[in-house]
């Protein structure tokens, strides 16, 4: 082996090394997004900012006229506070996820104090949470011309301070909540305990023996989806959430005697459920491990049918219930109601599926893009009634045109 004595050594400065790492990671991620995605993100940020501006500006003006300057300032402060809390919630979720599976090398193998590593991982968790600055800045701008500049400057400082404090607090709480360990490890400080308990080996629990059976390929894939989704994890959570809202949607007819109110509640719950089913489809369609699935004789049609048929069957069953349940409504009207709801339900579910199929091997990206389109749709509908559905239809057309990419995957 080469002699270590020839290598010059300096006193290690972990903070400096981590600052350099953070800079490089930020630059690399910014570069990897690409110009087109930056443009899309910019447009989305502008849309969200414009939407927030008007949503805050009009009520703030009303409060100023009715209750005076102090009440308006308090209202804006509460709005900014809500954004800071939302940022903290995002940071909490991210920090918990990072504590379970910390990105990067085997941190404990490096001669670094765990608090330094914990600070780096907390910065990683806080980065996406800072996206709340976009709507918060728009809300703050909405106060210009209504509140005195001094109050606005104070609110801006207060928001930045509150955001930074809440983000750090959320990360600390998430770290302590996630740092599970037993035995000798339980006596360690939280930062080290979290790293010790991360990526822990899975206990060798036995599952029910699998059955070998004869079936068509898409049915085999659908059965695989069922097995994967029935186990703990993200797909099961999505299906449970969707199932709960499907039940709520059906139960809405018996919760109130006001038919128009019941209809609105049933439709809203159905749409939330379909949005989540779409997210499940995007996650599953994009999440198949390439080296296991790609060498198999499966076609795009198999991959589509395996997800589409079960989802369409569920939606059809729920729509049948919606056509049968409402009391005091003529049968043709009930049928019309169910049929008119079928189109938006199909749009949401198929959008998720097509986005997932066109982004094979990248479930995170598929989910992000799907929710991005839904977000754009919601913003569009709030700005101009029904514009959101035009956005979703455009997204579905775009995703459908990209379905051919399923056949030419890129697995590097």
């Amino acid at each position: 082996m080469g002699s270590m004595s020839s290598m010059s050594r300096a006193t290690p400065d972990p903070d400096r090394a981590f600052r350099a790492l953070a800079r490089r990671l930020t630059a690399r991620r910014a570069h990897e997004l690409g110009a087109r995605l930056w443009f899309v993100l910019g447009v989305l940020a502008l849309a969200v900012a414009a939407f927030t501006y008007w949503q805050v500006r009009v009520p703030l003006d009303g409060t100023l006229r009715q209750a005076g300057e102090s009440a308006a300032a308090l209202r804006l402060a509460l709005t900014l506070g809500a954004f800071a809390v939302a940022g903290a919630a995002i940071a909490w979720v991210r920090r918990a996820a990072i504590a379970d599976d910390p990105p990067g090398p085997e941190w404990l193998a490096l001669p670094l104090p765990p608090p330094v590593i914990a600070r780096h991982l907390a910065r990683e968790a806080m980065a996406p949470a800072r996206a709340v600055v976009v709507p918060a800045a728009a809300a703050w701008l909405a106060g210009w011309g209504l509140l005195p500049p001094l109050a606005l400057v104070a609110l801006a400082f207060g928001f930045v301070l509150a955001l930074e404090l809440l983000l750090r607090l959320a990360c600390v709480i998430a770290l302590h909540a996630s740092a599970r360990a037993s035995g000798a490890a339980s006596a360690l400080p939280a930062a080290r305990r979290a790293l010790v308990s991360a990526r822990r080996p899975v206990p060798a629990t036995r599952l029910a023996p699998a059955r070998f059976r004869t079936e068509s390929r898409w049915r085999a894939l659908a059965r695989l989806d069922r097995a994967v989704s029935s186990r703990a994890g993200s797909p099961r959570g999505r299906l449970l959430f969707a199932g709960a809202f499907l039940l709520l949607s059906v139960a809405a007819w018996s919760l109130t005697h006001d038919l128009s109110q019941a209809r609105a509640q049933a439709f809203a719950a159905l749409m939330v459920s379909c949005a989540e089913l779409g997210a499940w489809a995007a996650w599953r369609a994009a999440g198949d491990p390439a080296t296991a699935l790609r060498p198999l004789p499966l076609s795009l049609s198999d991959a589509w049918r395996a997800r589409a048929w079960p989802l369409l069957a569920v939606i059809a069953a729920v729509l049948v219930l919606h056509a049968l349940l409402p009391q005091g409504v003529p049968a043709p009207a009930r049928l019309g109601l169910a049929l008119s709801w079928a189109l938006p339900a199909l749009l949401l579910v198929l959008l998720g599926l097509h986005v997932g199929l066109s982004l094979g091997g990248r479930p995170g990206a598929a989910e992000g893009l799907y929710y991005g389109w839904l977000g754009a749709g919601i913003v569009g509908s709030l700005a101009v009634p029904l514009l959101g559905w035009a956005v979703v239809i455009a997204a579905l057309v775009q995703a459908t045109r990209r379905l051919g990419r399923w056949r030419t995957p890129e697995v590097v």
Binding site: L207, A208, A210, T214, R219, A292, L296, P297, T408
Partner: protein, 251 residues
Amino acid sequence: MLEVQGLERRYGARVALAGVSLTVQPGEIVGLLGANGAGKSTLLRTVAGLQPPDAGRASACGHDVWRSPESAKRFLGYAAEEPSFHEELSALEYLAFVAAVRGLEPESAHTRTLALAGPLELAPRLDEPVRGFSHGMRKKLSFMAAVLHEPAVLLCDEALEGFDAPSALAAKAELRRLAARGAAVLFSSHVTETVERLCDRVVMLHEGRVARSLTRAEWGAGDDLHSPLERLFLEILGPPAPSIASRPESS
């Protein structure tokens, strides 16, 4: 039979495959040797249908992998270098799925699964979730999935790396058995001794091109220090770089 003609592949400016052509006849085990980055894994992933080529074609039993992928993949088996699975499933559930997609008769597929799992020492763990598997166990599972349907064309990308000695012996015996039944096997490895003992022919890749193709009779004997294939391999790569220990110390 596996046929690869003029396969080209670039990653940006870097050329991974520069017109690779080779044929593996039925009953033949062909070793694929090359330095790191020579293009072995790219070649196997392209032939397995995991990533498209920029040019050229690959066909299994006369079916083009990229023009009629489903037909070609019926004949193909692929054991990955870095296998990935649905982590939530048990090994048996995953293999049952593979058997169903490949249209295997359930009874015989189950019997074959158990017959493979025994010698590979995976039988006691078949009902456990893949999430808890070690690297070697994952490789064994990938190998089992690749050979479950007794493929006509088998692609092994560092397939035996990570196997313990008894399992490696069992896997090599299975490869020989498949070849004896007429399978064309393309076997990539860094371990020249394994290739020497297992393969009938060797294709050496260097910088994305086929540098040499040798039969067992042609690679001859080695010397005291090197096995025959190691010696030939070093000839292609040129004189070895000075070892870490022999480098002059920097001033």
